[in-house]
């Protein structure tokens, strides 16, 4: 208690200190309150999804609901969401795999190689791609992409396989144009801008001294990119990829419009499939049975869990990758 008199005399000397002290406290309280509201919102969301879905989840069991392959809201009232989980995971990760090299190449090209005007133009297009509503991608998918892929890829491949490699046919599936592959293509083009924009920013933020250090060792442009710039920017690039993955996991309309919406396993390359967001969007308005309704909310709960797990894993990895998390 030696400190107390000193402090109070300080406060007396500067009357504004009391005001400032209070200002500090109020500021802290407001910030804390707002921050906690995010925690409450997240937990509340998860909790109410669970509550809403509990009727169906309890009926099938926590794992049974997840791993069951029959989704029959009409006759048997049996609910297993595995086909939707699989569809979501496959399309999302495949889309990440397809879009990542393209996005990274675009970022490298615009950040390091392209003349200024071209880089500006490409960056503008990338940003525009992110701003296009997903239903527009869906329309484009239905009327342009799916017919195009059917004519140019699916049918020729299918016909070729039917003649030359009949063993492949069951894996190819129905080449109608609406299915997994088309979903992946559309999803890839939708998530490119997220990886591209974050990677581009991360590359631009690599200090000039780092590049110069590599150039001074006699590195070529590509070697500088490989040995210094990309490693330094890897945190931002990874964050971009995770943002893209998150978008892909939750993407609803565009995918629902082109994927064919069939939950019959096994899925095939070209044939129809379905995803968790798609089944929610498509069946929610038609659900009459309480149990069906609850099952749909249950799908939302598991989607929430997947997003949560992906995020936790991503932030763990991000911390490991980030440059500057060590001593600066």
């Amino acid at each position: 208690m030696q400190q107390a008199p000193v402090q109070s005399s300080l406060i007396k000397q500067t009357p504004s200190a009391i005001y400032r002290l209070w200002g500090d406290r109020i500021f802290l309280s407001v910030v804390l309150l707002l921050a906690l509201s995010i925690v409450a919102l997240t937990l509340g969301l998860g909790y109410y999804l669970y509550l809403g879905g509990s009727q169906a989840i309890n009926k099938e069991g926590f794992w049974g609901f997840l791993t069951g392959t029959t989704w029959d809201p009409a006759l048997k009232l049996e609910f297993g969401i595995w086909p939707y989980v699989l569809g979501t995971l496959i399309t999302s990760f495949a889309a990440l795999l397809v879009s990542f090299p393209i996005a990274l190449a675009a970022a490298i090209f615009t950040a390091e190689y392209a003349p200024r005007w071209l880089a500006g133009f490409i960056n503008y297009l990338v940003d525009l791609m992110a701003a296009v509503p997903s239903v527009v991608y869906g329309i484009w998918g239905i009327f342009v992409l799916a017919p195009f892929l059917r004519e140019v890829i699916y049918m020729p491949t299918f016909l070729w396989a039917a003649e030359k490699a009949p063993g492949l046919v069951p894996f190819l599936g129905n080449p109608a144009g609406y299915g997994m592959f088309t979903g992946v293509v559309i999803l890839s083009s939708m998530i490119i801008p997220f990886t591209a924009a974050l990677s581009r920013d991360a590359i631009a933020l690599v200090p000039a001294a780092q590049r110069e250090g590599a150039y001074a060792l006699g590195a070529t442009r590509w070697e500088v990119m490989q040995t210094v710039i990309l490693p330094y920017a890897r945190g931002g690039i990874f964050a971009g990829a995770m943002l893209a993955l998150g978008r892909a996991l939750g993407e609803t309309m565009a995918v629902a419009m082109v994927i064919g919406n069939s939950n019959v396993l096994p899925y095939t390359l070209f044939g129809p499939a379905s995803t968790m967001p798609a089944v929610i969007a498509l069946e929610l308005k038609e659900a009459v049975e309480d149990l069906h309704y609850s099952a749909i909310i249950g799908v939302g709960f598991y989607l929430f869990l997947i997003a949560f797990i992906v995020n936790v894993a991503a932030s763990y990895l991000l911390n490991k990758l980030k440059v500057g998390s060590q001593r600066a």
């Binding site: 200090p207 780092q210 590599a214 060792l217 006699g218 210094v228 490693p231």
Partner: protein
Amino acid sequence: MMREFKPMASSEMTLDPSLKTRIETRHVTVIYGQKAGVKDVTMPIYANKVTALIGPSGCGKTTFLRSLNRMHDLTPSARVTGEVLLDGINVYAAGVDPVEVRRKIGMVFQKPNPFPTLSIYGNVVAGLRLVGIRKKSLLDEAAERALRQAALWDEVKDRLHAPSMSLSGGQQQRLCIARALAVEPEVLLMDEPTSALDPISTQSIEDLLTELKNHVTIVIVTHNMQQAGRVSDFTGYFLNGEMVEFGPTSLLFTTPKDKRTEAYITGRFG
């Protein structure tokens, strides 16, 4: 391929004609946008000698140094005119690959810039890996030699694979010196390499320069007059982007020809 240094028309220096010139700059001017960083510098850099560049802050020492290995190529706003002859060949001539130039002319920067994603060891051998050396024994050997030369070996030999950012600022600078040395450049440009170092490490680096001279040509920028006096054979004094005076260090420090040089070295500058 060495060439004799032919005294410049305006030269008033006493030069030993037996000296070999490794680099010769002719009317080097560097312009940042509109503003000149270095104006019309013509000077020799003798082989196997240490050349010091001194002058007040902002006078263009770094700018000049960077013109020697084409580092300005990376600064869009910078434009270099004039010639930098390395063994008689203008490094700015069409057809000269700047990558080759920089392999021959190494550089240590004013601020330490280790690569943070690489370990201590990874930093030292980064340049060797670039030229395709993969053999572990070779890399290990080169890393140890370079780290010893940079007076860092004893401090890091037990944690070669620790992150480079776990080193102190002065250690990082010595790591950067080791990194530059590992590729065994013919010419080494050092921009205030010891400004962040303690007296003991500074001493080691100065000893290193004297030893390296046998096979490397060194250009060192320094704010430390004593250091220039101790380690360099030739000194150039820069002021406002111009080279005011150039000559053997012993002469320049004892009998400067220019009043401005005299004012600077006797501490009456400004």
